[in-house]
Amino acid sequence: MTIAGDSCWHCGEPLQAGAVIRARVAGQSRNLCCHGCRAAAEWIEQLGLADYYRLRSQPGEKPADPAAAAGIDLAPWGRPENARYVVRDLGDGHREALLLISGIRCSACVWLLERALGSLPGVVSVRVNAVSQRARIVWRDTDLQLPQLLLMISRAGYRALPLDAQGLDDVRRHESRAALKRLLVAGFGMMQAMMYATALYLGGIDSLDASTRELLRWLGLLVATPVVFYAARPFFAGALRSLRAGRLGMDVPIATAIAAVYAASLFETLRGGGEVYFDSVSMFVFFLLTGRYLEMRARHRACDLTDALARLAPTFADRCLDAGGIERVGIRELHVGDRVQVSEGGIVPADGVLLTQSCRVDEALLSGESAPVAKQRGDRLIAGSVLEGGPVQLRVERLGADTALAGIAALVMRAQAERPKLERAGERATSRFVARVLSLTAITLIGWYIVDPSRAFAAAVAVLVVSCPCAFALAVPAAITRALAALAQRGVLVVRPDALQALADCTHAVFDKTGTLTQATPTLGEVETFGGVSQTEALHIAASLARPSRHPVARAIAAAYPDRKDVELHDVMSHSGLGMSGLLGNRSLRLGRCDFAQPAGQTLPDCEDAVVLADERGPIAAFRLHERLRPDARAAIDALRAQGVAAIIASGDHQTRVADIAAQLRITDWHARLLPADKLALLADLRARGARVLAVGDGVNDAPVLAGADVAIAMAEGPELTQASSDIVLTSGRLGAIAPARALVQQTLAVVRQNQRWALYYNLAAVPLAALGLVPPWLAAIGMSLSSLGVVLNALRIGRNASQTTTTHPAAVSASVSQGAGAL
């Protein structure tokens, strides 16, 4: 892909006039959008890896501000208390770590990372996997420590986070290796068995002598035995498991068929006569394993991202120092009795007692109760619950693997183990179907035994094999796993699979404005002060007050005063939809909407669109913020409109600003100055009129709104928030991903219906023929394998076409870069 001259050379974002930075890369002067991109480009050039720009097919990820990336977050990883959990000792002075790297967009990123890391002295091997966004690094601990590796990655413009060393990855790697080996054994076995079987079939015409036939039968037995006892073991294990659980899973008839066909052929071989079916049984196993393998691949891809997010959740905590101030520490460095601060939308890192006046927490992960629970000073907070409003402080009471792991496990369960209703219904249907097949087989066996005992076995086996419920059982999960994987690739992470149906059906899309339609971080514009306060002083106080909040406006103010020596504040509280309050000495400060911040009876003219800092005596300063529309917002709204989804803006912001944004997006239905409760009422009203509502927000400030919609989408801005209260998370931060995702989900549901119909018709046609003895077992094996393969291949169609449309919008891709960087 060529990147146009008016966009950043590194990340591809459109350049802002007057803010262009120039740097020499690969012998030419290039335009760059920010210092972060310049640092990354120069660093890549300095390493002699400028070929990256030639090899890549997607623009790079916009790196964080070099000042922010300078290692503030990396230092804790050097301490053995933290490193112990993410670094594995391979012995011999070699260490291994598994990193999740965000920002890998194409194979050139893999190339760049492998080269950049490989150039560090002491690095033994680097393996970067673009699909799962992971890097496995082995190094000698005498030459190198983990923070240096992380720093190298961040300087090249990527974000790296170490993953738990004893994680699921090993389980998954083992599973996929074993499946590949089984598949190969079955494939080779099938080819050989078919060769011998062909000789036997042809020999029937050409009159092969008896000893040769005997030899061929024994050879068939020789190659089919590993297929049955090694390759087909998962089917036997699955059948046993489901029988023990008292269910009739889809493995039961499969295992019965394999065992019956193999046993009968073995008997004929030992007896030295009759028909053997070693080829059928091998082929049967091979095709089944192929279907399973494809399904497993899709599942792994979908899980790669979800479990990484889940495992990232509360890695660090903010510990309050006795001397004042806050220190960021690894969660394993906490001790019982420590005071910990949790910001709004953050995850409580350990079980503890609330020290702040009051707060609300969402304990849905642990209790299943989705309504936030109010807590007073002295109440207990549970690790893993999500804070709404805040910031709060708590005293750590219980620590250790018990609590933290419980929270993390719950997150993983929520992301993965929750099976969609659709799938559960499919499973019940499968179970009923299996019962019918087994009884039909018995009837066939008895019927033929009465009519013609010599054909009874062949016909019964044919019924069992031909009607295998795999097509039924795979119809739903194959389509859903494929859809989840295809969505994850596009930066759409489905947290609750039931949301798929709701997304496909939605008729109205309600957007929050700040941080959703506009860029997540507005920039601070003019500062107006009152009563002789200097601008710096006003900003210092406002930034200190805003620091704990995650509202984008608060973050913009906090970012405008980056020096972290904040003024000492007490009782800092966040007021949902209004602003922040706190005590400075005995002055009661407020920062937020002007009607909230000003003391009663005082009005400041023309402050409607400003953020006001005030104390009880009157306003101190007014801050005006500049917002930029996300580059793909308009295209995204238009695409949704083309699909027949009405777009609505529901914002807590001032009239004129909302009207301005709405006009730019050609949205006529917009609402300004809404409090969260008003937004909820708006949603309830829409739903009462029969609309199916999709809510899009940033996941924190509008958590209640997201919870009130049929399906909620949150723009990911940080690993903690992604778990908050949404069904779907846009990890790419791209609004443009919504409309294609909806189209893809609709396609998925269509494929599910197609698959189910196909499985039904196939069985209705094939089973009677088999029961009448018209289908030889080998043909039955082909028919059944092809039917399930057809279902899986049909599911793999999902997302094929859509992938082409996304790559043809470089602007949309670059937009994702701008926000995605902030997430991890």
Binding site: G48, S119, V128, N129, L184
Partner: protein, 53 residues
């Protein structure tokens, strides 16, 4: 018939060899990443420093 007696064990021997080679490949991460190795030949410059010992 004599050829069969010779050829069949030979084919089984080959088969065993192929399975062994494939198992080795699976165990040595040869199927983990199917995309990035395709880019390696596009890099003109030879490895500046050997990465592996």
């Amino acid at each position: 018939m004599n050829t069969l007696v010779f050829m069949i064990p030979l084919s089984l021997l080959f088969l065993g060899g192929a399975v062994a080679v494939f198992f080795w490949a699976v165990d040595h991460d040869q199927f983990e990443d199917m995309e990035s190795p395709g880019l390696l030949p596009l890099d003109d410059a030879p490895d500046r420093e050997p990465r592996r010992e």
